[in-house]
C-alpha cells in the first residue's frame, strides 16, 4: 500500500506540476483581447473613479444595454459600469465590487434573471468565472468560494491548454474582421459601457422559455449580505431588473414575478418593475438581454427616471 500511495502521489504531483506551470504562464495575447479581460479595466475604474460615484453591477444586460453618460450628465455622478458577462455569476460580481465600495457611492444592481435560479449565480457557465478571477493574477482563483471552485474546476485543464496555442501568439489579430469583435475588451467606453455593437445590425435569436428550474434563496442571502456590508461602508444600494426581450418576458412571467416578489420580501430598494425594462425585437441586438443603441438609450432613460424619483424621496 505504501508503495502504491507514494507512486500515486508522485504521479499526481507530476500531472499537477504540469498544470501549475500552465497556470503560472500568462494567457496568450489573443486570449487577453476577449471580453472578460475588461474586468482589469473595470477594476481600475472602481479603484480610481472619484466620488460622487454611481456603480452599476450586473451581467451583459448592463454592458450591452446601458448608457452611463445619461447619469453623468443628469445626476452629475461619476459612473462605473462594472458589468462584463453574466456567466461569472452575481456572487463573484458582488464579492469583487465590495472591495472598492466607498462612502457615498450609489450602487445599482440589475442582474439577469438567470442569476436567481439554480446555482447559476455562482458562475456555473463554463470557464468564465475562472478566467475572470485570474485575469490579472494567476492564483486569483484562490479567492473564489468553494462552490465557485467546484463549478469551475473541471474547465480549468482545457482552459490552461489555450496557453499552448502557438497561433494565439503569432496571429493575434486574426479576429479583426470577425462578426463577434463586439465581444472584445476594446469594445468598452470610459465608463465601462460596451459600445462596439452600436453600429452593427441586429442579429436573429430565439426567445427563452425559462431561466432555470428552482429559485435559489442562497443567492438572495448573498445579495442581502452585500447590501448590508456596502451600506455599512456608507453606500446606498438599489436593485433593479435587466433589459429583456418582451417575448421572453411573456414566456417567463412567473419566474420574473417571483424575483420581483422576493426583492420585496427582502425589503430591498427596488428601481422600477420588470415590465418597464422589456423591449420588442426591434430593440434587441443579439440575445434576450442585449439591446441595440435605440434600446440602450430608452432603458438608461427609464432607469435614470426611476432613480431620480427615489433620490428625490
Amino acid at each position: 500500500m505504501k508503495v502504491f500511495l507514494i507512486k500515486t502521489a508522485q504521479y499526481t504531483a507530476l500531472i499537477a506540476l504540469f498544470f501549475i506551470v500552465l497556470l503560472i504562464m500568462p494567457y496568450t495575447p489573443r486570449f487577453k483581447k476577449q471580453l472578460l479581460f475588461a474586468k482589469i479595466d473595470k477594476d481600475i475604474l472602481l479603484k480610481t473613479t472619484k466620488s460622487p460615484r454611481i456603480i452599476f453591477i450586473g451581467g451583459s444586460n448592463l454592458c450591452f444595454g446601458f448608457n452611463s453618460q445619461i447619469f453623468a450628465d443628469s445626476l452629475h455622478l461619476n459612473p462605473v459600469n462594472t458589468a462584463v458577462h453574466f456567466g461569472i455569476g452575481i456572487v463573484f460580481m458582488l464579492d469583487n465590487t465590495l472591495k472598492y465600495v466607498k462612502k457615498g457611492d450609489i450602487i445599482v444592481i440589475a442582474e439577469e434573471y438567470d442569476q436567481y435560479f439554480d446555482d447559476f449565480g455562482y458562475g456555473t457557465l463554463g470557464d468564465n468565472i475562472f478566467i475572470a478571477s485570474t485575469v490579472n493574477n494567476p492564483i486569483g482563483f484562490m479567492n473564489l468560494r468553494p462552490i465557485q471552485l467546484y463549478y469551475s474546476a473541471k474547465y480549468v485543464p482545457n482552459l490552461l491548454f489555450t496557453k499552448l496555442q502557438i497561433r494565439d501568439y503569432t496571429d493575434v489579430e486574426r479576429d479583426k474582421n470577425n462578426n463577434n469583435n463586439v465581444y472584445l475588451r476594446s469594445a468598452f467606453n470610459k465608463y465601462g459601457d460596451a459600445i462596439g455593437h452600436y453600429n452593427q445590425k441586429n442579429r436573429p435569436f430565439v426567445p427563452r422559455n425559462s431561466f432555470g428550474s428552482k429559485f435559489n434563496y442562497q443567492i438572495m442571502d448573498v445579495l442581502k449580505s452585500f447590501i448590508d456590508s456596502a451600506e455599512k461602508k456608507g453606500a446606498v444600494c438599489y436593485v433593479s431588473f435587466p433589459s429583456l426581450q418582451y417575448k421572453t418576458y411573456l414566456n417567463c412571467i412567473h419566474q420574473i414575478n417571483q424575483v420581483d416578489n422576493e426583492f420585496k420580501k427582502y425589503h430591498l430598494k427596488v428601481l422600477g418593475n420588470p415590465k418597464e425594462f422589456t423591449f420588442g425585437d426591434e430593440y434587441m441586438f443579439d440575445n434576450v438581454y442585449h439591446l441595440d443603441k435605440k434600446g440602450v438609450d430608452i432603458r438608461s432613460r427609464n432607469l435614470y427616471l426611476e432613480l431620480k424619483k427615489k433620490l428625490a424621496n
Binding site: 500500500m1 507530476l14 504540469f18 498544470f19 470557464d127 485543464p157 482545457n158 491548454f161
Partner: protein, 478 residues
Amino acid sequence: MLFNSFEFFLFVPVVFTLYWFFFNKSLTLQNLLLLVASCFFYGWFSWKFLILLIACIFLDFLYGFGVNSINKRKSKTYLILSVLNNLSILFVFKYYDFFAVEFQRTFELVGIHLNISLLNIALPVGVSFYTFHGMSYVFDIYRGIRKPVSNFIEYAVFVAFFPLLVAGPIERANHLLPQVQSKRIFKYQQAVEGCRLILWGMFKKVVIADSLALIVDDIFDHYPHHSSFTLILAAIGFSFQIYCDFSGYSDIAIGTGKLFGFELLSNFRFPYFSRDIAEFWRRWHISLSSWFKDYLYIPLGGSKNGKLIAIRNTIIIFLVSGFWHGASWNYLVWGGIHAMAFLPLLISNKNRKHVNEIVANDGKLPTWTELLQILSTFAFVTFAWIFFRMHSLTSALDYIKSIFTNFNNLKEVLIYRWIVFYVLIVLIADWYFRKDERILKIPKLPRLIRIVVYAAITILIFSLLAKMPKQSFIYFQF
C-alpha cells in the same frame, strides 16, 4: 454519477481512502462502506430510483431463501415469483409504453380504436443490469450451484457494487459473491492494473468515443444531406464510438473494482478482430452473451436436442438480446440480423471454429484469409449497427438506401477524415495488446517514457473532459 465526471474523480479517491484505511478492520465494515458508497453513487442519478433498487435487492434476497427450499414445488414457485418480479419491473419501466402503442396500432388496423394511456416514465439507470444480477442469483440457487446468502449487506453489495451497478459487467453470483464474502486485502499489482484500466477506459470514452460522437451524431442526424461515402464512414465511426464507449465504461468498472480488491468479469476481448460472427459474440459484451447462454439458451435445451431446437434457441437468444437493449423494432431487427448471420455457422457446425485462439497469435500481422474474414465480419457488424443507432426501423432503412443512392459530392467525405484517425488509434492499440488484454502495460519501454505516456494520456483526458459536451455512456439508456 458518470464515470467521466469531475464528481467521480473526487468520489473514488475518497471511498478508496476510507475503504483501505478506516474500514479495513473487518469484512463487515468493508462491505458496509461499499454499500453506502454504492447507494450514494446511484442516488447521485436519482434518489427516487434508489428506493426501487433497494426494493429489488431486498425481494431477491428473500426469494433466495424460498428458492433454496427442499420442496421442489415451493422452490420453483419462488423462482417464478422472483423472475416475475424482476421482469415486471423491466416491463413497467422499459417495455409497457412500447407494447401499449403496438397493441393500439394492431387494433387500429382492424378498425378498433383503443385508448390505452401511456406511462411516460423515465427509465431507472441500470435497471436492465441489476435485475439481471438478481435473477442470476436466484437461478444459481435453484440450480443448486450455490446456497443463499444469509447476510443482507453482502448480497446488497453483490447487486449494487457501484462500478458495475449501472452498465455491468453483469456479474454472476458464483463469481462475485465469494469475493464479497471474503475480506479484501490490498494487492499492489492489482491496484496498478486497476489504474491502468481506468486510464485506458477514460481514454477510450473521453478521447475517442466522445470525439467520434461529435462527428458521427451530426452525420446520422442529418443523413439525407450526406453522400454515400460519408454515410459509410459515419457507420464505421459509430462502430468504434459504441465500442470505445461501452468497453471504455467496462474498463473503468473493472479497473475500479480492482482498486477495491475485486476481479470483475471481462466484458470485451477485441471484438473487431473477430473472424466470424460467432467469434464476435464471444468477444462483445461477453457478460450479457454468457448470461443469456447460461440462463436462457441452455434451459431452453441449448444445442443438445438436435439442430432444429438449437436453431430455434439461437433465434430466441438473439431476438431477446436485441429487445433487452430497448423497446423498439430496430433493436429486434438488429438481433434478428445477427441471428441470421449466426445460423449458417451453427448449421455447418462452424460456430466454434475460433473459441480461444487469438488472431495472428504467432505473428505480427494476420494472414490474407484472416484479414478478409475480419473485414467481412466487421462490415457485417457495422451494417447491423445502423439499425441499432437509428431511432426507428424506417430511418435505418432510409439510411441504408441513402448509402446506395447519394452519390453526389462524394469528396465531402474528406471533411470527416478525423474519423479515420480515431479509428486507427483504437485499431493499433487493440492489435498491439490483443494477446495480453492488459492494455497499457508497456514494460518494454523505459520507465521515464512510460510515465510520459501515462501522463500525456491523463492530461489529454482532463483537457477534453471540459471541452466536450457532457456525454453520457450509450449503455446507460439500456
